[in-house]
């Protein structure tokens, strides 16, 4: 479903190549994980796919269900079914969380030519989903992510994912800043969204998250490329031995 071919990306501001030929296929219904050391380009990949400014694609392609992602505006990618759970969810003073979510849901529906969700229906759905993620009414009323703890911010990301029902979810270090209980809660939220139609790309530093969100395939990224792919065991190998062994093996 998500198909990335030979993707080369550099920073717009400086002449620095970050991605140097990424190839990746995430089929519907599967969970792929990307692990890798700091600076390997994991977060850049998530930003480029979701359309953040400041990056220039110099070569290669990325498509979602055959649609060219790289030509689209961020909002078009979202409406096409791409979702990025941010590593650092942004605080937006003055915009209520609920208003934000309803605006987003209806903007996507509109873009897809569907009817907008009524206020009453929206309330019913969001209350049920918020409850599963232990998000209380106060968090829904407050401005987006304002005064939220690290765990609350990540739960809020998953709530957005649940409301927007994307085809392809990218989770960028969703485990960062989470304690064990929060990680469990977030993972349960993600697992509840796993369906045969939906793909996941889970970016993480640690194997820990993958105990909760079980991946089908694990990729190791280093220096802007996927250098090794394997089953869930690959994550355990990283956890036990670090990246050095794998990188040395690839270099050899």
């Amino acid at each position: 479903m998500l198909s990335i071919k030979n993707l080369h990306v550099k920073l717009e501001e400086e002449d620095k190549q970050i991605l140097k030929g990424v190839d990746l296929e995430v089929p519907a219904g599967k969970v792929h994980a990307i692990m890798g050391p700091n600076g390997s380009g994991k977060s850049t990949l998530s930003y480029v796919l979701s359309g953040k400014d400041g990056y220039e694609v110099t070569e290669g392609s990325a498509t979602l269900s055959g649609e060219d992602l790289l030509e689209q505006e961020p909002e078009e990618r979202a409406a096409a079914g791409l979702f990025l759970a941010f590593q650092y969810p942004v605080e937006i003073p003055g915009v209520g969380n609920m208003t934000f979510l309803r605006t987003a849901v209806n903007a996507q529906r509109k873009a897809r030519g569907e009817d907008e969700m009524s206020a009453a229906d929206f309330l019913k759905v969001i209350r049920a989903k918020a409850k599963e993620l232990k998000i209380d009414a106060d968090m829904l009323k407050r401005p987006v992510n304002m005064g939220f703890s690290g765990g609350e911010k990540k739960r809020n990301e998953i709530l957005q994912m649940a409301m927007l029902e994307p085809k392809m979810c990218i989770l960028d270090e969703t485990d960062s800043g989470l304690d064990v209980d929060a990680m469990k809660l977030v993972s349960e939220g993600v697992n509840a969204l796993r369906t045969p139609e939906r793909g996941f790309l889970v970016i993480t530093h640690y194997q820990r998250l993958l105990d909760h969100i079980k991946p089908d395939v694990v990729h190791i990224m280093a220096d802007g490329r996927i250098v090794k792919s394997g089953g869930p065991d690959l994550a355990l190998e990283v956890e036990n031995n670090g990246y050095a062994d794998i990188l040395a093996e690839v270099a050899a």
Binding site: K52, P74, E75, A78, E91, I92, F100, A107
Partner: protein, 426 residues
């Protein structure tokens, strides 16, 4: 003798072009004001408080034409239960207005309130005169001398609904001078609404005497006629434990200068002056505020937010003066602008002058672009750029709108702002 000495000065020319209403209780105040104007002269760009705003189009004798803005929206505050007082091009319109009787207050029209012993005599021109020191406000003196219409409101109790002054603009060359006097008795309360452009060029003064424990709430929306000009002054004197809250929404208008001069003279009084403005293109909006703390344990807040684009200019000159005996003063001042492009500008001059030693005063002034991270976050959730920008713009203005006490009025203004922004960006 050289010729230049006999040439008429701009002040003389302006005075010659006006006619002073010649009889009744206000004559003395008008003559005093005329003398003030003569000694001060009309504002000049060299004046400290007119550095950023050119005063010439506000003082020239020829009318400054402004096309009447035509729109199909329901008038603001339309669904509210209120007492309507309508002015058309600066002239009271009895037919369009409600019957002016309402329990808890007395309203009279300035132009016809002629009895010699009128209560307004003690206030008319008095608060304006007090407000001339230390900063001269010649346009307000001009107003006191030559005002042709306005309302005198004596609030004695708790009126059941707001008084709503509606200012219609019908003539492209109208030049209006309105002067309102509001006297709030101890313990009384009033919500005063104002909306509309009033005239092609408006000079308006409102003097508000707020007695002990009285509460005055003011919400105004200045009309959206693109070419209109306005110079307005609010002069307020606050008694002990009284509250004064004023909020102004300004969208469009080629030139708007809103001055607000407040004196906290009784202990434990509270004053809030807030404003939100949205300017696009040929737009200059100037908030000039002067708050004097002259009593113990008073609080004042100034909250101003401006959204500017396509070369619009925003100005804020705000001062808090804390006199030596005004201990336990809590003064807060913030002025912020959101510049949606590089052509727009915001000029701010926050000032604090403090003579008491036990006070807490803070001020902040910022100007910045839209938060790109927030914009991307919204777009990544599917909200198109224009809609996301509107949402962030509204959120920026919300902090000023929040200063309005009434939730109903807050919602009314937020709703309008949202629809105006939406029309604008579509």
């Amino acid at each position: 003798m050289s010729q230049t000495q006999t040439k008429e000065t701009p002040t003389e020319a302006l005075i010659k072009s006006k006619a002073m209403p010649g009889e009744g209780w206000s004559v003395t105040a008008r003559e005093d004001a005329l003398n003030r104007l003569v000694s001060m002269g009309v504002p000049h760009r060299r004046d400290e408080y007119w550095k950023y705003t050119r005063p010439d189009t506000l003082t020239q004798t020829d009318p400054m034409p402004a096309a009447v803005f035509v729109h199909d929206e329901a008038p603001l505050f339309d669904t509210l239960d209120r007492l309507k007082v309508v002015f058309v091009d600066g002239v009271f319109d009895a037919e369009a207005s409600d019957d002016l009787s309402l329990e808890g207050l007395h309203i009279e029209r300035l132009a016809t309130a002629t009895s010699d012993l009128h209560w307004a005599r003690d206030i008319y021109g008095t608060l304006e005169k007090n407000g001339q020191d230390p900063v001269a406000r010649p346009l307000a003196a001009l107003n006191t001398a030559f005002a042709t219409d306005g309302v005198l409101i004596h609030v004695t109790g708790q009126p059941s609904k707001p008084v709503s002054l509606i200012y219609r603009h019908k003539s492209e060359t109208s030049d209006a001078i309105l002067h309102h006097v509001i006297k709030m008795d101890a313990g009384s309360s009033l919500t005063l609404l104002e909306n509309g452009p009033a005239a092609a060029r408006l000079n308006k003064v409102m003097e508000v005497e707020v007695a002990d424990t009285a509460e005055f709430n003011h919400v105004r929306a200045q009309g959206r006629d693109h070419e209109r000009r306005a110079a307005t002054h609010i002069f307020a004197r606050l008694g002990a434990e009284s509250a004064f809250k004023s909020f102004t929404l300004t969208v469009n208008g080629v030139l708007t200068r809103n001055e607000c001069v407040i004196e906290l003279t009784g202990d434990d009084a509270h004053a809030t002056v807030a404003g939100a403005c949205v300017g696009d293109g040929a737009f200059l909006h100037d908030d000039t505020v002067f708050i004097t703390h002259d009593a113990v344990n008073c609080e004042s807040r100034q909250v101003f937010k401006k959204v500017l684009r396509n070369g619009a200019t925003g100005i804020f000159q705000g001062k808090i003066l804390v006199k030596a005996d005004a201990q336990k003063t809590d003064g807060y001042q913030i002025s912020q602008s959101l510049l949606l492009d590089e052509d727009s500008q915001f000029l701010a001059k926050p000032e604090l002058e403090i003579y008491a030693d036990d006070v807490a005063c803070s001020h902040g002034s910022t100007s910045g672009a839209i938060d790109e991270d927030a914009l991307f976050y919204l777009r990544a959730r599917g909200v198109p750029r224009a809609e996301a920008t509107d949402l962030l713009t509204l959120a920026f203005l919300a902090e000023a709108v929040e200063e309005i006490t009434s939730q109903e009025l807050r919602e009314e203004l937020n709703k309008r702002l949202a629809s105006w922004l939406e029309r604008h960006s579509s």
